[in-house]
Symmetry: C2
Subunit: 537 residues, 2 copies
């Protein structure tokens, strides 16, 4: 968040009322922040309430504040409407009560499209209506690395295809986090070890680091899939055994502090069922707490391990899955859509890499294949990379795998489609086709080595005489080869489900794996030149 | 139901109290039936209540009776405990009230294992503990055919592998059901056409026919997967548009009449979402009604069309799915198990046949393949046959396809396994293996044409030195070829997940599709003769 301009009289006015500090102008969907001085005695993390009521016409939000240590309290607010907002604080502490103010919300800058929401049943868009297609990556511990590594991670992301990062709010237990110089930023609670944690007090230095990481991602235009809870404690710190009261307090603090970031997504947990002392009722409760406390209703999900959470529950906005088989064929993702009736993000599909653990041994080809399967199934996938020499999924740094370039290529194809979110077509029978029936077909052949593809489409939305053009896509070599040929469809004789090209055309394919076709309707009046080349047989 | 023996004094006594007629001895899980004379004026189907309270020690059941026309009321009860049962009726009609009696429940005969229940999370067993592995078939309209066809269906079932039949309580609209000589048995309601249905009165002739069909299946040892509601009305009869009040009354009557049959399963609907004027709340309500009214808690599910019901709901005992892709690979069924945490029966996987509709065009090979995939995925499947010359799925009669023999072969393999319900093994990574880790592995290669299989097993439950024997199974040609060789496992060098044979053995495979392997632990002391034949390389 940038403080753009603070005029002196307003600053004076605010300071006069209390030790408030805030901006007077902010663009839509940025963070407006109020700073208040208040009591520092006792334990302000527990028992002190602070809420801002923000109004602009018929828009009214209640946004909780949080204690930031040293007698400093803050309220962060994300205005989602242009014009004048006024606010008034309430608190159970006199010093924090009844602070008033106003600010101007200006139009968003070019790259600010607002938070991501669900579009329709199965896809996403930014709040300004721009489609958002998640192409995520996983960098679990990136906030807890040294400054140089973090800077390198940010630079890598900038030129990567990834527009969502999954990461842990609390790192896994590792000796270096206890012993290293960065330990002050690693623990959300006061203390340094299991012996002296104070789970009732948060560690402001930890959160300041996390603030900075959230801002960095936001400035890159990258969504932060922020994972609130995780196992991986190895019995060392006790963070996964702190009990539901601590869990509630932590979740509530996180929401108070980060909900105003337009790029936040709430991932309740990574591999939730590996936290053996928490059951689904506990997760339900935390979901509902986040749902209740987040004024902007950012996306909410949870990432499973060996007991799959019920993603049909109403507080879950989308499916965040770890189930590798789902992406071994396009129909897996399509089944999940039909079961959950929500967007499906395959957030863990194994990682490209060469480590001993089999979850980190995918080839670049296999990772790319799984991404394509997720897309053709009408959903999405998340990347990760685990080469021995470069543990991106843990620390970030540099990407060395071969899949990111192919994922970038796929993202371009997906984002350039003219029909919006890709829907599986005729998917109870066909398993390799997504797009929009009648208009746009992306057909993926996976590991099949096709020598030709007969021009046959499912009949839905087709009529005799509709014309199509086609491109051959090599998903691995990243080429798109347009065919200079027009296909005109007629019903397939003897088959009530299909249309074919009226000349019974086939498309010659190169007999290699990982090929796809893109077939697009030609609008009336548009022309495709047929130069007689022999791509067809 | 057979009346085994009615002694005259008891008969007299019962007749004296009211016009009651019932048996004095009945075997466990058979139908004990009380017949009462009562009012026939007005509409006894609506507003007359009749319930029997049956007690035997600490077992007490409330079983609703039903009106059977002509002033006759019945209560059917399924005793599930041997010994003396007493009963007492209550009613809002004086003539039906306060009927008392008792009978002896004797031990079940050899083929009577009781109703089928869920065993553990994913499998089934009869109430006496005998495992039940569903190998179902579909004969939607068999109760509504002429006597000869019905007899032929029963004879066919007798020598078939099928131990469950899915069929409709109400047939689809067809002209012949309106016009034919059998129409009296076709409609559950009084009337003959849309113009004169009385949805408040049931048609006893229809139900007497259904009674007989239920008995026939029970006597065969075949479970009746009785489908209460269906679309397929084509706007002709209005049975699918009668409204929820009629639906409730019909469901309640069906439960009162058939719950005492040990072989009944409640299938709330076929293709439920094609009944466009019913939503999931309606289905929830009907499920709960059946759950509340069935004293014996027979299995309950619903068969989906294009909107998948939420099978996690507590009143659903198992998954009854129509989603063909699920059975195109073993992992589909395994995913459903992990999502729903209930037994998965793929109740419609397309049908073997040659009709124009693509849902009825499977080869016998493909049907068999899909059955194996369901089993290897840790679930079950249901057969159907739709040859133009022999519409088994509609009418029954004779089976002409090639899959039933292979399904019989599969059933034998499944039923002879020593470990109970087959569980997918290492199924997040492996997709072709089910059984019980450490003891029993059924490995299915589907369409892969393997020339050899390296002896490699997932490490779970294995230890160095454990010995195994193996059989090659040709699932299409129905042969089991034991290998005269002992495999002794050791950890696989360089792989933390696998064990291999200590001699790095492979098994030579015939390079054909539809092959499987069965690998069984050799208990200490057991021996397998190695005659040096060259099945191994």
């Amino acid at each position: 968040m940038q403080i753009k301009h603070v005029s002196l009289p307003i600053l004076f006015l605010i300071l006069f009322v209390n030790s408030t500090f805030s901006q007077d102008r902010i663009e839509k969907w940025d963070v407006f922040e109020i700073t208040l001085k208040g009591p520092s005695s006792g334990n302000p993390f527990v028992g002190t309430t602070l809420t801002g009521r923000f109004s602009n016409g018929d828009k009214v939000y209640e946004q909780d504040g949080y204690y930031d240590g040293n007698g400093v309290y803050k309220i962060r607010f994300m205005p989602d409407k242009e014009g004048t907002w006024t606010y008034l604080t309430s608190s159970n502490k006199r010093e924090l009560e009844n602070n008033k103010g106003s600010f101007e919300c200006t139009s968003p800058s070019a790259k600010n499209h607002g938070p991501v929401k669900v579009r329709g049943s199965y896809h996403f868009q930014y709040e300004d209506g721009t489609p958002y297609y998640p192409f995520g990556t996983t960098i679990y511990e990136w906030p807890f690395q040294d400054a140089q590594t973090k800077a390198r991670t940010v630079a890598t992301l900038k030129s990567s295809p990834f527009n969502k990062v999954r990461f842990l709010a609390v790192p896994p237990y590792k000796d270096r986090y206890v012993e290293g110089p960065l330990k002050i930023t690693v623990f959300p609670f006061e203390g340094t070890s299991r012996e002296n944690w104070d789970f009732s007090r948060f560690n402001p230095e930890y959160f300041k680091n996390l603030d900075e990481c959230m801002r960095k991602l936001r400035d890159l235009g990258v969504e932060a899939d922020l994972i609130l809870f995780r196992p991986y404690d190895k019995g060392k710190w006790g963070f996964d055994m702190a009990g539901q009261e601590v869990n509630r307090r932590f979740a509530q603090y996180m929401v108070a502090r980060y909900a105003a970031f337009r790029n936040v997504w709430w991932s309740l947990a990574n591999e939730n069922s590996f936290i053996r002392n928490m059951n689904d009722n506990d997760w339900d409760e935390l979901f509902q707490l986040v749902q209740q406390k987040d004024p902007y209703q950012h996306l909410r999900s949870i990432h499973n391990a060996d007991r799959i959470y019920d993603y049909t529950k109403p507080w879950v906005t989308h499916v965040s899955y770890q189930y590798y088989n789902v992406v071994k064929a396009p129909f897996g993702t399509a089944i999940l859509r039909d079961i959950y009736k929500k967007p499906v993000v395959n957030d863990e599909i194994n990682y490209e890499g060469n480590i001993d653990s089999r979850w980190g041994q995918l080839s670049g080809e296999e990772m790319t294949f799984r991404f394509w399967n997720a897309i053709i199934g009408g959903g999405y996938a998340t990347h990760g990379e685990s080469y021995q020499a470069s543990p991106w999924i843990s620390n970030g740094g540099r990407l060395t795998g071969s899949s990111p370039a192919r994922i970038a290529f796929l993202r371009k194809i997906v984002e350039s489609n003219p029909v919006g979110g890709l829907e599986p077509i005729d998917h109870y029978y066909e398993n390799n086709m997504a797009g929009k029936a009648g208009d746009y077909y992306l057909i993926y052949f996976g590991k099949d080595k096709m020598n030709r593809w007969d021009f046959v489409l499912p009949k839905r939305e087709l009529a005799t005489g509709v014309k199509f053009k086609a491109d051959i896509i090599d998903t691995w070599n990243m080429t798109v080869t347009p065919l200079n040929k027009v296909f005109e469809v007629v019903p397939m004789p003897g088959n009530r489900y299909k249309f074919i090209d009226k000349n019974k055309s086939s498309i010659k394919m190169p007999g290699k794996p990982y090929m796809a076709l893109r077939i697009r309707k030609i609008e009336d009046g548009a022309k495709v030149k047929d130069d007689g080349r022999h791509e067809l047989e």
